[in-house]
Symmetry: C2
Subunit: 346 residues, 2 copies
C-alpha cells in the first residue's frame, strides 16, 4: 500500500465482494514512432495487440493474430497474467472498444471513437470527441458499477505511456512514466512530448488531453467518474492511470478509487507512479506476483523489466487474491500453468 490513506479500508471492504474486470482497448499512432513501444513483435502488428489481448482473455487464444502478442524478442503479453488471475477467481470480464484500430473478434462495448493521432504531428483527437469519450465512459462506468461491488479497469494501448506523459506534462505535472521495455526510452518519450508541446498548450484541461493524449485516457477517466458513486474502482495499470487521474480530477472522481498494479511498476526507478497518483489523492495497491522466482524465463522477464504491467494484470491479480483470500504464492503456479498451456499451443 502506497501513497494517500484510504487504501487499507478499500482493500478490507472488498474482501467478500463481487468483482467485474473491464479491458479498455485503444490505439494511438504515436506508437508508430520507432523505438517508443515493444507492444507487439513488429511495428505492423502493434494495432493487433489490443484486440488480441481481449481475445486471449476470453478465448484463451487470439483470433486476430496467430499466437499471442509478444515483444520483438519473444516476451509474452501480460494478458497471460490477467487471464490466469481472472480465471482462478471466476471474475467476469467485458471488453470496451475505445478507438481500437482493429475491432476484436468477440462481442465488446463500442464507443464509436476513432483511434488517436500521432501527437508529434497534430492533436490526438478533436476536443468534441474527447468530451464524447468522457461522456460514453461515464455511461459505461455507471452501468457496470451497478452490476458489481468493484469495477476493475485495465487497458491495452501500444505507446500509451508516451501519450500519458503528454497529458501529464500538458497539465503541468512533473511526472515520469514507466515503459514496457527494461531500458525505458525516457529521452525519446520526453523528446516526443516536447515536440508535441511545441504546438502550444491550452489552459483548458480537456483541450490538453485531446491534444496530447489518446482515446483510452478520457474513456477510463469517464468510467471511473461514472462508477465511483456506486461501486469501488480499481484502476488496473501503471503510470497511464496517473494521466487518467490527472484528467479525472476535473470530473469529480471521488472516494473508493485506488490504482492497483504490479510491484515492477512501483519499483521502476525511471518512473514515479506513487507520487503521480498520490497527487490526485488516490492510493496505490501494488502486488508482487513473485515471477522472479518462476522456473519459466518468459515469466521471469516481467520481473526483469519487460512489459512490467499491461492488460490490467496487476489489478486482476489483486482482485483475484482479494476474492479468493489467497496470495502471490498461490498465484505463481497458476501463472506458470497458463504460460505452459500457451507455449504448448503455439
Amino acid at each position: 500500500m502506497h501513497g494517500p490513506p484510504g487504501g487499507e479500508e478499500l482493500v478490507e471492504s472488498l474482501g467478500s465482494g463481487k468483482f467485474l474486470f473491464s479491458l479498455v482497448i485503444s490505439y494511438t499512432e504515436t506508437c508508430e514512432i520507432p523505438g517508443i513501444t515493444a507492444a507487439g513483435a513488429a511495428p505492423e502488428l502493434f494495432q493487433y495487440t489490443p484486440p488480441a489481448d481481449a481475445e486471449f482473455l476470453h478465448y484463451g487464444r487470439c483470433r486476430s493474430i496467430d499466437g499471442i502478442p509478444m515483444t520483438p524478442d519473444g516476451k509474452p503479453t501480460p494478458a497471460l497474467l490477467t487471464k490466469a488471475a481472472l480465471e482462478s477467481a471466476s471474475i467476469p470480464h467485458v471488453v470496451i472498444g475505445a478507438g481500437s484500430k482493429v475491432p476484436p473478434m468477440m462481442p465488446y462495448m463500442e464507443t464509436g471513437l476513432h483511434w488517436g493521432g500521432n501527437i508529434t504531428q497534430g492533436p490526438a483527437m478533436a476536443r468534441d470527441d474527447l468530451l464524447r469519450a468522457i461522456d460514453y465512459g461515464r455511461i459505461i462506468g455507471r452501468t457496470l458499477s451497478s452490476l458489481t461491488d468493484c469495477l476493475v479497469i485495465g487497458e491495452s494501448i501500444p505507446g500509451g505511456t508516451t501519450t500519458a506523459l503528454g497529458v501529464l506534462r500538458g497539465l503541468g505535472r512533473k511526472a515520469r512514466v514507466s515503459s514496457s521495455m527494461p531500458e525505458n526510452p525516457v529521452e525519446l518519450k520526453e523528446h516526443v512530448v516536447e515536440n508535441a508541446l511545441r504546438r502550444g498548450v491550452s489552459e483548458d484541461p480537456f483541450s490538453v488531453a485531446a491534444s496530447l493524449g489518446d482515446p483510452m485516457i478520457p474513456v477510463v477517466a469517464g468510467m471511473a467518474s461514472g462508477a465511483c458513486g456506486s461501486s469501488k474502482v480499481l484502476l488496473a495499470g501503471g503510470t497511464q492511470m496517473a494521466a487518467v487521474l490527472a484528467l479525472g480530477e476535473k470530473l469529480g472522481i471521488g472516494g473508493g478509487v485506488a490504482v492497483a498494479t504490479t510491484s515492477y511498476v512501483v519499483d521502476d526507478e525511471s518512473a514515479d507512479l506513487v507520487e503521480s497518483v498520490g497527487a490526485a489523492g488516490v492510493p496505490v495497491i501494488s502486488v508482487d506476483p513473485l515471477l522472479s522466482k518462476s522456473k519459466e524465463p518468459g515469466l521471469r522477464a516481467f520481473s526483469e523489466g519487460f512489459a512490467k504491467e499491461g492488460a490490467g494484470a496487476g489489478g486482476a491479480i489483486t482482485a483475484a487474491m482479494l476474492k479468493t483470500g489467497t496470495g502471490p504464492r498461490e498465484f505463481l503456479p497458476l501463472a506458470e500453468d497458463e504460460y505452459r498451456r500457451v507455449l504448448s499451443a503455439q
Copy 2:
C-alpha cells in the same frame, strides 16, 4: 401465467432479486416490403427506430431522430413503457447491436453482424454469420447473467414478426404471429413467407433460421442459452420470442426461462403466442398495464392493438413490478407521467 408449468416458481424466485434489462437492436430489409410494419413514421425512418428506442431508454430522448419513434398515425413507441418501468425500479440496462443498420448514439455491445436481407429476395444472412450470431449471443448471455439474478431480453427490429413467422414456418410450426398494427396484415405476412419458402427449405434448423429469419433471432437465442445456466431469463417480447425459442431448442435452452409480455399480445386473436411458446416447454407471463383505463389516448392505443408490445415493454413492466412489489395500478400513473413528459418535450 399461461402454458407449461414453471412460471409460478420462476416469478416467486425473482421477488427479491436483481434484474438487468438488455435491448437487442437489429434490422431486416424485409420491413421495407410495403404494409409489413408500422415501426416508424415513414418507411425511410424504420432503420432509425431500433437505435432511437435504445437512445430513448437511456437519455429519455432520441438522438438519431427528432422526437421519438412513432407509427405513421402518431402512436408512440412502446419504449416509453419500457423506460417508465425500468426507471421506477432502478433496473440497469445495456443495448446490444445485432445488425442494426444505424448504430445508436450511445455506448452499446457490438457483435459486428450485418443487418438481415429481405427474405423474399434471398437468405436473410449466411449460415456462418448465423452461427457467429449464436456464439456471440452465448458469450454476451454468459457475461450478463453472471452479473445479475435475472436477465431480461427485449428486442427492437421493424418487420420482425414477419421474419419470426418465416423461421417458425421453416421449422414446420403452424404458429400465427402478432403485429404492431391493429389490423394484422396476416395475409401479406403469410404471402411474404410463402414466397421466401419457395427458395427451398433445408432440414438443418440453422440454415432455416439463416434463410428465413433476421439477426436478432440467433443473437437472442444464443443469449438465452448462455444465460440460463447462471441466472433466470425473461424473454421480453411477443411472438418473435416464439421464433427465438424454436431455434433455441437446438441450443439447449433449459429451465428458468419464461416469456414475459403484455396481455395485448396474449389476447391477440390473430396470433397464438401461448401455444407457440408452450411448444418449447416455456411458460408465458403476461401483464395488463391497464392502459385501456388511461386518460391519454396515445397510451390507450397500445390496448387497442397499436404496437401492443416492443422494446421489451411487457418484460420490463413485469421485472419492475416484481422488483418493487407493485402492480399495474402503480405502473399506470408512471407511464402517464412519462407520456406527458415526452409530449411536452416535442
